[in-house]
Amino acid sequence: MNELNRLDLYKQMVRIRQYEARILQEYHADKSPAWDIGAGLIPGEMHLSAGQEPAAVGVCAHLKKGDAITAPHRPHHFALAHGVDMNAMTAEIYGRLTGLSHGKGGHMHLFDPDNHFSCSGIIAQGYPVACGQAMAFKRQGTDHVAIAVAGEGAANQGAFHESLNLAALWNLPVVFVIEDNDWAISVPRSHSTANTSNADRALGYGMPGVRVEDNDVEAVFEAAGAAIARARNGDGPSLLEIHTLRLWGHFEGDAQAYRGADLDTVNDRDPIPRYAATLTELGDLTEDDVATIAAAADAEVDAAIEFATSSPEPTAADALDHVFA
């Protein structure tokens, strides 16, 4: 496998997981006894990506500075894997002046122009924006690519269709990534999607489509590598559907009563211990490594939380800035 560095993939997944686990804890910490969505140091909706690390890590391993990502409401894993500064991102989630957007955006609106990273809380609407970034990259004569990320629920939104057609028609350097975690809030894929693989839909635009099963980071790495290389070489867009796992609720506070038996096996399907086992078997990872990697991630996360919580809050008057440039 081309340029594959298993340990890097593993470390990045752990780093993301430790981040999400810590945000989970902090989010709920000051919302007890009952969850009050608007209370605490981190208010608002919180969509965490635990279980979906293979998608972000496998894709972003192929990206270089200047490549763009548009992510949806569940953005942390792609943000971190793409190099968005953990401190500034965390400060944004805490609504601080040192945040990426000085507290104006919040967790669904992370903008890091330096890394060409953005996200949006409106389903599938990052897809057209990524097409436009790809248009710009092409017009500017660069070999940069744009990655458009959305969930399997999003693939039934009109913007998905229009974007795939545009990108194929104009031969744009975009890779459309669908994270199929089986659920769109409480609606299972079988109740939202008429067919079983979105890779089939790609054919309707004359575009290659690949579905990666089983949340396997190496399989993602391989498929994403091909799609990204294709885009970079000027050969046009592709679609990559990744069958992944929503380890936790849709957002924090979601009791997941609707999820039924699917919930029983969720921990067994966690991709991180599974990959650790694979690497251990291959001799690439020891128990000590596991602990060291986790500790390093924790230290980075601790520092980010510390950075965020010690940063100043904006004041009411700041709300009036930045409507216009």
Binding site: D36, G38, G95, M108, N156, A184, G253, E313, A316, A317
Partner: protein
């Protein structure tokens, strides 16, 4: 005294439950009523608007949809045209932009374009409002946007009783009705609770007329014209200011289309001072419409300049101090009333 003579403890329910109770009653009455939207089934609606409906009516009449708002709102229209009475939920009003064509060019216009020959008896319900840090794409009210466009009735309940009565009226109406409910007024256990979001509501059917404002509190010094969650805040402020000797009248519009201009004008005629409190954006919206209604009637009614308190023309920011800075909070309402009285 026998047990039956003891009045039953007054039944108090949340706004969310009142909505779903209204829907359930009409579903029992009329087999043509069905519910459709994202997570309206087993989940019961993200903000509780379809609580318990799935259990009673099942997946044939309480239908979870794909994330295809143009598709399923359009389907609601088609079903309504063929005699059904769909109640369709758009999860957040902020998502209107992905389906606005169906709403404004179809749901709203078919009756007129058909010269009155085709009816679209459909309820489109949607959650509005902020105050819990859901940021720029999930916190808007936008009722001004819809009230500006002809062909849709727009109702905006502020309490459990109206929520049920307006829901039943909306379902029975032969026109499309946009029913906007404030998340912060639903009485959800997982949001900041205002005691006014839980109230006594009769179990049986009743209607609240569409197009009739309510004087939620009588007063003689100043009129607050408002709606939705801001009614709750304004009533809180009115109670507080009463102790300062300021006597506030609160007009709860309840419906923007049709707009009950009579009730507004009667109140302003009495007080001569008006404050419009609106959680929608300030410019080109509700506050302006009320100014126009008053000043085309008689600008001389106003003994003090017209006052409005709304979201200044900025997207809703995320961080709490920023968001509270732009919302019409109790403090800002009280300050504006005091200034009007100065």
């Amino acid at each position: 005294m026998t047990a039956t003579e003891t009045p039953a403890a007054a039944r108090r329910i949340t706004t969310a439950k009142a909505m779903s109770e209204g829907i359930a009653l009409e579903m029992r009455n009329d087999p043509n009523v069905f519910v459709m939207g994202e997570d309206v089934g087993a989940y019961g609606g993200i903000f509780g608007s379809t609580t318990d409906l799935f259990d009673e009516f099942g997946s044939e009449r309480v239908i979870d949809t794909p994330i295809s708002e143009t598709g399923f709102i359009g389907a609601g229209i088609g079903a309504a045209v063929e005699g059904m009475r769909p109640v369709v939920e758009l999860m957040f009003i902020d998502f209107y932009g992905v389906c606005m064509d169906q709403i404004t060019n179809h749901m709203a216009k078919i009756h007129y374009e058909s010269g009155g020959n085709v009816n679209v008896p459909m309820v489109l319900m949607s959650a509005v409002g902020g105050g819990y840090s859901d940021a720029a794409q999930h916190s808007q009210c936008l009722w001004g946007t819809f009230a500006h466009l002809p062909g849709i009735k727009v109702v905006v309940p502020s309490n459990p009783y109206d929520a049920k009565g307006l829901m039943i009226s909306a379902i029975r109406d032969d026109n499309p009705v946009l029913y906007l409910f404030h998340k912060g007024g639903q009485g959800l256990v997982w949001m900041e609770k205002n005691p006014r979001s839980i109230a006594e509501v009769p179990e049986e059917e009743f209607t609240v007329p569409i197009g009739k404002a309510a004087v939620a509190r009588e007063g003689r010094d100043v009129t607050i014209v408002t709606l939705s969650l801001s009614v709750q805040h304004s009533l809180d402020v009115a109670e507080q200011l009463a102790s300062e000797g300021i006597n506030v009248e609160v007009v709860d519009l309840r419906s923007l289309v049709p707009l009950d201009t009579e009730t507004v004008l009667a109140s302003v005629a009495k007080t001569g001072r008006v404050l419009v409190v609106d959680e929608d954006y300030r410019s080109f919206g509700l506050t302006g419409e009320i100014a126009a209604v008053i000043s085309e009637h008689d600008p001389g009614m106003l003994t003090k300049p017209f006052r409005r308190l709304a979201v200044p023309d900025v997207p809703i920011p995320y961080a709490r101090p920023l968001e509270q800075g732009v919302l019409p909070t109790r403090d800002k309402i009280a300050a504006a009333v005091r200034e009007l009285m100065a």
